[in-house]
């Protein structure tokens, strides 16, 4: 993994891009890839390599939005009432650092309010604060100052976290690794394809996944690809999460989630590639969540789709942890797939289904 690849990962993590307002991510990708994107009606951004002699058009879909908040109201005391965008457990928000992005791109920092422990009743100590009680303290005297800062209702608010290596440099912590870690992998792949002309590929940086896989629907409709690879993250084992998937054990091959069941032929194909090329891998069977594949695979006449995931601890919080070895596995597998798969081979895999064996 090169230094510049990791720079891309860190930059993507640090940028703020809440559903429907992902412009900074798109600008960054256009800058890194030195290419202008094409957008669909929900502002998913698409970058397409040259078709050349390739007959198989692959969509690599990675959602670029992160969970966050919107300013719902400016209270008279200068605090901001926040509306959640995407699924966040309020329990993890108290006293966290958040940052508001104003209409003229200023970043204003604040702290989520919480009661001092001394003031809590016994009953309050046992409760989780509700979604309706999330307020941001900006450290001002009144709403007049808030307006002078340029903050408006509707401004987006994100976690104020910077990515960093942990005590073992294989582990990296930061915000929005769901799904910027996948965006990083897809960006590396796109650069690789463009430099080597090995495949006809669209990097689809989809919008609004966290609020219902919306940009996946529209971008699949626009692109109508022959095949799709969705890269996302999946909940991994931790001290408090008893899951099958673990950090450092490699790319997660999706078998089933809340919205998609992977085609058995494609499962055998991807599993076979990993075994033959000795790529560390594990299996995704987490049915409490879904990915963009949920809307892509059943778009119009159907799009054969696989899901590759990166294990993540503490998903949808201000600080998640991933392992760089898992990203390496994802990237290696992606390169092998795009170098190997043709339209004929894809159709053969679909025809053979569970009987397919990758030699």
């Amino acid at each position: 993994m090169t230094k510049s690849n990791m720079d891309i990962l860190f930059q993507l993590s640090n940028l703020i891009g809440i559903g429907s307002d992902e412009k900074y991510i798109v600008s960054y990708l256009e800058d890194v890839l030195q290419e202008k994107s094409i957008m669909d009606g929900l502002q998913s951004a698409m970058f397409t390599s040259k078709k050349g002699n390739h007959d198989l058009h692959t969509m690599v879909a990675v959602h670029i939005d992160e969970v966050g908040f919107m300013v719902e109201n400016i209270e008279s005391d200068g605090s901001l009432k926040l509306q959640m965008i995407g699924g966040i457990w309020p329990h993890i928000l108290l006293n966290q650092d958040l940052v508001v992005t104003t209409q003229d791109n200023k970043q204003i920092h604040g702290v989520v309010v919480s009661k001092a422990s001394h003031s809590l009743t016994l009953a309050e100590r046992e409760k989780v604060v509700s979604n309706d009680e999330i307020y941001l303290d900006l450290g001002v005297y009144s709403d007049k100052e808030v307006k002078e800062l340029g903050i408006c209702i509707g401004d987006m608010v994100g976690f104020d976290t910077k990515a960093q290596y942990m005590n073992n440099a294989d582990f990296i912590s930061g915000k929005a690794f769901d799904n910027r870690s996948s965006v990083a992998c897809a960006t590396w792949l796109y650069e690789y394809i463009r430099d080597t002309d090995k495949h006809w590929l669209t990097l689809a940086a989809t919008s609004q996944e966290e609020v219902g896989l919306r940009g996946a629907r529209t971008s699949a409709y626009v692109l109508k690809p022959d095949f799709a690879i969705v890269i996302d993250t999946t909940v991994a084992k931790s001290r408090v999460n008893d899951e099958v998937v673990e950090l450092g054990n490699g790319v997660v091959i999706g078998i089933i989630d809340a919205m998609t069941i992977t085609n058995r032929g494609l499962l055998n194909y991807v599993e076979g590639l990993c075994e033959n090329h000795k790529i560390s891998h594990q299996y995704g069977l987490f049915t409490k969540g879904g990915t963009d594949a949920g809307n892509i695979h059943k778009s119009e006449k159907g799009i054969p789709t696989i899901v590759l995931s990166i294990p993540i601890r503490y998903m949808h919080t201000h600080r998640s942890i991933i392992n760089r070895k898992d990203l390496e596995s994802v990237f290696e597998l992606l390169k092998i797939i795009v170098e190997d798969l043709t339209l004929d081979k894809l159709n053969y895999i679909l025809e053979k289904n569970y009987e397919y064996k990758e030699d």
Partner: protein, 319 residues
């Protein structure tokens, strides 16, 4: 259809997402009677007559079943995910079959312990995460079928019988991925693009009578097109069948077929089951003959009609 063929049909595994073995069997049957077969991109099987030039009518049924999938190994047992709705009346300990990656069979007992299903196979060899598990029961005697697979197999059996007749301008479809959310209902209707559709659904009928057609007037996923409903009612009565309204709180492929794309006028045709049960049920196979006779007549009567124009009127013209 011969009894052996029917028994083989009911024995094939077809957990949602893993329907290929069943669909291959059915596809071969249709090819042997010289019908044309193809698939949509989610694997749904589409069957047409070789002379078919357009798809006036789509008749569909889901081919997948509820079951389990192996999601973890804990020492000597395997933890399972439920796929689709496992019947509430199923015992907490039953015999089952593990279907491995390449569809080898491994016998197992599965047990529900503290609300979680576990499999105890006779051997570990060849088992992987993602393998599916089925629990099948079927008895066929004196033209009566008792089975826990009637919900999907009755309709497949019916389409296979129908295929022995003239099905010109009709597409017979067996969908995948239905019990997990009617996913291939979307892709199959997008691929076939019919003018009208009939969706088969095996369901309990109170006061079942022979020589009767049951048309669904309400379920949780679709309100039928009223004009198409009347056309079908008139056709049924014209050949001496009673046509009875049916109401259900269930949901099926019709919920997406009717509202996908530009929309397709749709009606659910019920295959009568004798018990109000979501596990084991009873079907008198004479209902297959009655329903096939009705559908033959529908296909024939649609030949010289522009049915979509009759029901919907002129199509929207963007120009």
């Amino acid at each position: 259809m011969k009894e052996e063929l029917i028994k083989e049909l009911y024995d094939l595994p077809s957990v949602s997402g893993d329907e290929h073995e069943l669909l291959t069997f059915v596809k071969q049957y249709f090819m042997d009677i010289e019908l044309r077969t193809s698939n949509d991109r989610l694997g749904s099987l589409i069957v047409t007559d070789k002379n078919t030039s357009k798809h006036t009518l789509m008749i569909s049924v889901n081919g997948d079943e509820w079951g389990w999938m192996i999601c973890d190994k804990e020492n000597y047992r395997y933890k399972l995910l439920e796929i689709g709705s496992i019947p509430t009346t199923l015992n907490n300990e039953v015999y089952a079959t593990i279907i491995t990656r390449y569809h080898n069979r491994i016998d197992a007992i599965i047990k529900k312990e503290n609300d979680v299903w576990y499999a105890y196979p006779v051997t570990d060899e060849g088992i992987k995460l993602g393998d599916t598990i089925v629990h099948h029961y079927m008895k066929y005697r004196d033209e009566i079928i008792i089975s826990n697979q009637l919900k999907n197999r009755a309709g497949v059996q019916l389409l296979m019988e129908l295929g022995n007749n003239n099905i010109e301008d009709c597409a017979l479809v067996i969908t995948t991925n239905s019990v997990v959310g009617q996913r291939a209902a979307i892709t199959s209707v997008s691929t076939v693009d019919p003018e009208v559709s009939i969706i088969l659904d095996a369901d309990y009928v109170k006061d079942y009578r022979p020589n009767t057609i049951y048309l669904r007037y309400f379920d949780r996923g679709m309100l039928p097109n009223r004009k198409w409903l009347k056309v079908l009612k008139d056709i049924g009565e014209s050949i001496g069948l009673d046509v009875v309204p049916h109401f259900s709180q269930s949901i099926n492929d019709s919920s997406f077929i009717h509202k996908t794309g530009k929309g397709t006028p749709s009606v659910v045709l019920v295959i009568p089951m004798l018990l109000n049960s979501n596990y084991l049920n009873i079907m008198d196979t004479k209902v297959v003959d009655t329903t096939v006779m009705f559908l033959k007549e529908v296909i024939q009567k649609l030949k010289d009609r522009d049915i979509r124009l009759e029901i919907i009127g002129e199509a929207y013209d963007q120009k």
